[in-house]
């Protein structure tokens, strides 16, 4: 429709040009975030230099289907590039399957969770997704599933090796280096729902703990509350990003449908220049669809998966707090047992039964050493958990920033291509006569 159409948005208070100027001003003044602060001691922690320099790079690539039918499985190439002396070579690769990763988690968990480490959770099992792949459905959804899993496995390994103690673990080294791994069994318990149940039970137990442990207990209590709150909020955030992914995909299909419709319109248009412009417009919309498709990919793999990972990681953090609880409980029980043994000795002294006295004294000695062992354990766990929390928080902040930066890059690429597409179309529109 012609006439009166020069209706561009009137200048709002947040005029785009003014904003651009403000942005450049902000660039100079904004310089105070980043360095992590230990809120407990108020001291500024230096960025751990060794953690920053990546002397170890891991990639998970080349998914390959091995075998046929229901016994088939996907095999992934795990490549490592490193300058660390503890490895035999500087670059090497092995092939691993999903259950190998679960097996690694089981081994790590068995050894390190008792110490209060935050163990990165493995990617979730998916019966539906895997069945499609086994059955041999060669469609885009099973390709997407494989890619999703590959990326998740990669992130999992990267988190494991980013942990200073886990990196030293021989099982981790073996996983990366050894050509053939014995097949991991009993990984059922570690599948998604199973793991989640375990984690949830852990937090229930923690909630029932009402006995105060020591002064720093306040820190742990409020930290745990923070973790639980954050987990809920990240779930909400994840749901919002999920919605974005779905709507972006809808936009894709609506754009394609629109493109076809415009092409049809162009084909019946009698004015030849307009007809040509309309078919060009249809092509532009086709390109738009591809760009939207790429953006949806970024929305999912950069944002959605990050958030899903952190929801599960926060669950693992709760597990870590639960471990400390368990150690505390063990100490409590040992102290109460020691107390009972002492009472028993006292009774024996009164009853004057010297033959049983030696046994009682032996018992007391045994439990005294246990108590002091458990006290040391508890102190160590407490110290580890606190250190782990600080490390985790720093890593989380870094992780999020990295991903937002990547997301911005993906947007930049998309917008750049958008500009080029429409700039190419403009002369076509102007050529209509």
């Amino acid at each position: 429709m012609s006439g009166g159409c020069g209706r561009n948005p009137p200048p709002f208070p947040d005029n785009e040009d003014q904003e651009a100027e403000l942005d450049t001003q902000v660039l100079d003044s904004d310089d105070d975030d980043d360095e992590g602060e230990d809120i407990f001691t108020g001291a500024r922690l230096e960025e751990e230099e060794s953690g920053d320099q990546f002397e170890l790079n891991i990639a998970v690539t080349n998914p390959e289907k091995i075998g046929d039918g229901m016994n088939a499985y996907m095999s992934y190439k795990v490549s490592t590039q490193t300058t660390l002396p503890m490895f035999l070579n500087k670059t090497f690769s092995v092939r691993r399957r999903f259950s190998d990763f679960l097996g690694l988690y089981e081994k790590i968990s068995a050894k390190h969770s008792l110490l209060g480490c935050i163990i990165p959770p493995p990617p979730q099992k998916s019966v539906v997704g895997m069945t499609k792949v086994k059955v041999g459905k060669e469609d885009s959804s099973s390709a997407e599933f494989v890619e999703k899993r590959r990326a998740a496995l990669e992130r999992y390994l990267q988190r494991v090796v980013a942990h200073p103690s886990l990196l030293q673990d021989p099982d981790v080294r073996e996983f990366l280096e050894r050509d053939e791994l014995p097949r991991a069994v009993n990984t059922q318990a570690l599948s998604g729902p199973g793991l989640l149940k375990m984690i949830n039970r852990a937090s229930d137990a923690v909630n029932k703990m009402t006995i105060k442990m020591n002064e720093s207990d306040n820190w742990f209590e409020s930290k745990l509350q923070e973790v639980e709150n954050e987990e809920q909020l990240l779930r909400r955030l994840h749901a919002a990003v999920d919605s974005l992914v779905n709507h972006r995909k809808e936009l894709c299909s609506n754009t394609v449908v629109f493109s076809k419709s415009v092409a049809m319109l162009g084909s019946v248009e009698e004015n030849s220049a307009l007809s040509r412009a309309l078919s060009q417009l249809a092509e532009v919309e086709d390109k738009m669809e591809q760009l939207h498709q790429q953006q949806a990919f970024s929305d999912f793999f950069i944002l959605a998966e990050l958030l899903a990972d952190y929801v599960r990681l926060l669950g693992a953090v709760r597990c870590c707090f639960e471990q400390r609880m368990k150690v505390w409980q063990r100490l409590q029980e040992a102290q109460s047992t020691l107390q009972k043994k002492r009472e028993a000795e006292a009774k024996l002294l009164w009853a004057n039964k010297p033959e049983k006295l030696q046994q009682a004294k032996d018992d007391i000695n045994e439990w005294e050493s246990k108590v002091s062992q458990y006290e040391r354990d508890f102190e160590r766990v407490t110290c580890t958990v606190r250190k782990e929390m600080l490390r985790f928080e720093k890593e989380k902040a870094r992780d999020f920033k990295q991903h937002i930066v990547k997301y911005l890059e993906s947007l930049l690429h998309t917008q750049h291509r958008l500009v080029k597409c429409w700039e190419a179309f403009l002369p076509e529109a102007k050529a209509i006569a």
Partner: protein, 419 residues
């Protein structure tokens, strides 16, 4: 010249919007220039200010304004449609009723939730509401304005007495509500219309020009209707994406509010990023709607008006054939010959007049359509480029802000060299 001002008073729910338009094409002739410089939204009613500037002596003053409601525009349309004299012209399609349902719902929510929201949330929602109202306003003002400009730019319509009354009469036109007879009449008219569709396809066409036009219009009509529907779905998806950015920004802010570490400030910044993305996506969606979807919607209606012209001509052709047959019969019977001759003469005259005027109208319709598509496609493309560039710049700025503080290997400004 463009400016916008906005005033909102929640208590008595009055919206005032001033948007001065840039007059183009249809306002080429300085002897009669019409525009709608502002509109007032009061509860359910929209009052458009119709502003006229003219050098024609048929008007009392050279410049004047009157307030008009949507119903009065419809009155004008129906009056013109019912004027027998204009049967050979394409009647400009009636503007659709202003639809403020969306913004109104939001305003209701805003009013209800005012006490439970934080100051920031309230301010943000108010801003979104204003943007939505603005979008609907632009659409409805545009379509009402173009409707009038079609009349003013047409050599015959511009002289219409009812049109002049519409522009000039400074009292309420007191458009009566349609009484039962008129409503039934409308229903009957629609029935006749669908009968016409059968007629128009079935009638034996004598004129090559109209034969081609018929084929073209029927085909084009279905294709543009389809394109309109698909464009609407596409625009809706864009709006959904903008909504999602909004929720993401909100969720990030909630997470930030609950956080006590250095991460808090990061989250607030990320929330800011998504808020900006939302605003830009919103603009893309509403500009696409205004330039593309509205264009397609308008021409779907205009094509229908062109088809209506063909129906009227087809009916006149059928009448003409019938009058010929009646004359032959009368001559055979030797009765009422004079009457039959007179009838035949009139039918032929009417048919010839419709054909002549119809041919002119349909030819100028083609030209008008091409001009409108050209203009809107250019404007849409320029806006798309502008928005994409702004988005690109914003992403660049944030990217720079976030990467230059990262220690180690994370910041990769090298990727951006091409920008």
């Amino acid at each position: 010249v463009q400016f916008g001002a906005f005033q909102h008073s929640c208590s008595n729910k009055i919206y005032l919007l001033l948007v001065r338009s840039v007059s183009v094409d249809l306002n080429n002739d300085a002897s009669l220039v019409i525009d709608i410089p502002d509109a007032l939204c009061e509860r359910d009613k929209v009052k458009f200010t119709v502003h006229t500037k003219t050098t024609l002596s048929s008007f009392q003053k050279p410049e004047f304004s009157v307030p008009r409601q949507h119903e009065e525009f419809i009155w004008l349309h129906d009056t013109i449609v019912e004027t027998e004299e204009y049967a050979g012209l394409i009647i400009p399609p009636a503007p659709p009723k202003p639809d403020f349902e969306g913004p109104r719902e939001k305003m209701h929510k805003l009013g209800e939730g005012e006490s439970s929201m934080t100051k920031e949330e309230y301010a943000k929602m108010k801003q979104e509401l204003e943007a939505e109202y603005l979008a609907v306003f632009k659409k409805t003002v545009q379509v009402h304005e173009v409707f009038l400009q079609r009349f003013s730019s047409h050599p015959i319509f511009r002289k219409d007495r009812n049109f002049q009354i519409f522009l000039e009469y400074d009292q309420d036109l007191s458009v009566r509500r349609k009484n039962a007879k008129e409503m039934f009449g409308g229903f009957f008219k629609n029935m006749v219309k669908s009968a016409d569709e059968v007629l128009i396809s079935g009638v034996k066409e004598v004129d090559e020009f109209f034969e081609q036009e018929k084929t073209f219009l029927l085909d084009y009509s279905s294709k543009i209707k389809d394109a309109t529907a698909k464009a609407e779905k596409m625009t809706r998806s864009h709006k959904n994406v903008a909504d999602d950015y909004n929720h993401i920004s909100g969720a990030l802010n909630s997470t930030a509010a609950d956080n006590n570490t250095a991460f808090k400030k990061h989250l607030e910044k990320y929330a800011e990023v998504f808020e900006k993305l939302r605003k830009l996506e919103d603009r893309v969606a509403s500009d696409q709607e205004l330039k593309l979807t509205e264009l397609l919607r308008y021409y779907t209606r205009d094509i229908q008006a062109a088809k209506d012209l063909l129906y009227r001509r087809a009916r006149a052709l059928a009448d003409n054939e019938n009058s010929n047959k009646a004359l032959d019969k009368a001559r055979l019977k030797g009765k009422d010959i004079a009457q039959a001759e007179e009838n035949q003469k009139q039918c032929l005259q009417k048919f010839d007049k419709l054909s002549e005027s119809g041919k002119k109208e349909l030819t100028s319709f083609k030209a008008r359509r091409v001009v409108a598509f050209r203009k809107n496609l250019i404007e849409m493309t320029e806006l798309e480029i502008k928005h994409a560039k702004v988005r690109r710049l914003k992403c660049c700025v944030y990217h720079y802000m976030f990467t230059r503080q990262c220690s180690g290997s994370h910041g990769k400004p090298g990727n951006l060299r091409e920008f």
